[in-house]
């Protein structure tokens, strides 16, 4: 627990602290000095104090990934992708929780003068204050999500509207005529965009008649409740449940199962994000891959690029979605083939 400073190392090695610092950092120093200082540091168990070092250097070599809900596997997947890029560039990644909208603004503000050189943030709700805080932040911020047009901020977006089109096209091709959309909270960015995407996608198919409901959170439990309530409420049952994300989709899957409905024969179910959970349910959950890992990778590269060139103009990158079709939407005849494919992927 004893805190040994560079002063002690220098004294131990019989050199000045300047020489000790140079030797430790691989700068100009005689072989003998380097050897003596290294030996002293090792013997004393010296590790440089990061706060002092950072105060002097004006950088920390740490980057933050700030996320609202680490319980959602899609963020875990993103974090993995970010971590790989960040480690490659010799930064350490730390994860912090954003909490609600107010605390997110507070976080950007405080983290900006804190222990990180840059921030990647996945905000659930984007307020004007948040945009202002991001633009005013003393360190670069990259946003995973969607900002008001004209924001001068590096941004990586998913195309959830296009994702909804993939879902509806697929369901229509499978003969579904009455899709029900189970959204998450509409005051969130994903909630707003996915609802708009659903409506646009349905409108493109004249034969469809859709219904909509809202889960009060992007969770399995909320999805379950919303689906039960939906079936209870409607006169004519939907033949497909289109969930705003995988967690809601899994809740809907359970609800349909508990109501004695066969999936996909009686009702198809889809999710969005294509998290590992989508492959874990039986039947597997058809889901839109919004490119979480790719978005994380790009976001990390944008951040590191901006750190190298702070004055560079803001970039906006959009990642294209794709559809991962599993058993929850495809006819019984095709299920064996899909099962075999999944098994191969898992094995």
């Amino acid at each position: 627990m004893a805190r040994v400073t560079i002063t002690e190392v220098a004294r131990h090695a019989g050199v000045s602290i300047a020489s000790a610092s140079r030797a430790l950092n691989g700068l100009v120093a005689s072989a003998e000095t380097v050897q003596k200082v290294r030996a002293a540091a090792l013997e004393l168990g010296y590790v440089a104090d990061d706060t002092a070092r950072s105060l002097k250097l004006g950088r920390t070599n740490q980057l933050a990934y700030a996320v609202a809900d680490i319980g959602n596997p899609v963020y875990v997947e993103m974090m993995g992708a970010i971590e790989r890029v960040v480690a490659e560039a010799d930064y350490r990644l730390v994860l912090t929780k954003t909490g609600d909208a107010d605390s997110t603004v507070e976080l950007v503000r405080s983290l900006g003068r804190g222990f990180v050189d840059g921030i990647i943030i996945s905000p659930l709700r984007v307020t004007d204050e948040l945009v202002a805080a991001i633009e005013a932040a003393p360190v670069p911020v990259v946003v995973l999500g969607r900002l008001p047009a004209g924001s001068k901020v590096d941004t990586v977006m998913a195309d959830s509207a296009q994702g909804m089109t993939l879902v509806i096209d697929h369901l229509a091709a499978e003969g579904r005529r009455r899709p029900a959309f189970i959204n998450g909270p509409v005051d969130t960015t994903p909630g707003r965009l996915r609802l708009a995407g659903f409506r646009a996608a349905v409108a493109a198919h004249p034969g469809l008649s859709s219904i909509e409901t809202v889960a009060d959170d992007f969770t399995i439990a909320a999805g379950y409740r919303a689906a039960i309530e939906l079936f209870d409420r409607v006169d004519v049952a939907p033949d497909a449940l289109v969930a705003a994300n995988d967690l809601i989709g899994i809740g809907a899957l359970h609800a349909a199962d508990d109501l004695g409905l066969r999936i996909p024969e009686d009702v198809a179910v889809t999710g969005m994000d294509d998290t590992e959970l989508a492959g874990v349910t039986r039947p597997g959950l058809t889901s839109v891959d919004l490119g979480a890992a790719e978005r994380g990778r790009v976001a990390a590269q944008l951040l590191i690029g901006r750190l190298a060139e702070p004055s560079r103009s803001a970039h906006t990158v959009s990642v294209a979605p794709s559809l991962s079709i599993r058993e929850s939407t495809i006819g019984a005849a095709a299920r064996n083939a899909a099962g075999a494919r999944d098994a191969e992927a898992a094995g």
Copy 2:
């Protein structure tokens, strides 16, 4: 992006930097000074530089949770519990990845002189170097896991051996006679302890005949492979698959399903950790709740307690397990009741 320091705030407010600091930190200062300084800080968008503040104060108000595999939901659950305690005590929690054994030692060393006042760590493998690094760390470290007896380190343990007893007792009561243990890597602490626990639990039931295999990772894919290989290898099939954690258990569940086995009629399956995934599969996965959230909570309290009283002697806390019984182990007759219970929990 302009970095405004307390010097500028002081000048703007027409007071000394000492007065500015006092006003900002709520120490003695006249109402007028406070008002002027607050106004100046607000106008300039001043936020105190954490690195400078920490260098001076000798603390950061940040704690780290270091974990090997954030993809495992059990760590996510722990983190949630830790975060609540930590936030309550006005610390910020950051999450960092430990990586392999060597980099874990390196992490403890560097993080100790880094941007945190204390560390909670969940090491997968405990080496002598790691114990030494923890004992020598300049900040308090709390270990979630098991250390060699006599280590003077705050520790929170699960009782996975007792957990195995719960599983085997349950399976035996359900009439299973030939359990197969699917372990994770044996050179990890959980792998070693769970294997020992399985053997002891089986030995307590003279009528049982067990077999064992090893998945090469604590993941769904590895569990799937191990289960397929197991059924391929044995002459007489097991009537229960006892997995070392939920992820392996889910892989085993899929494998059994893909082999055309009915669960639980042909083969029962159990997991361990009782993560949210155990409730997501159909049939639901019977799993041992090792008290992840409780362990996280206790670990955070231990760390905060030690920060308040650094010389306190080391504590070791053990959290008792319980069994969450789901459809993967109970007879068809009992399944409806369990299904209803799960539905209630989800709704």
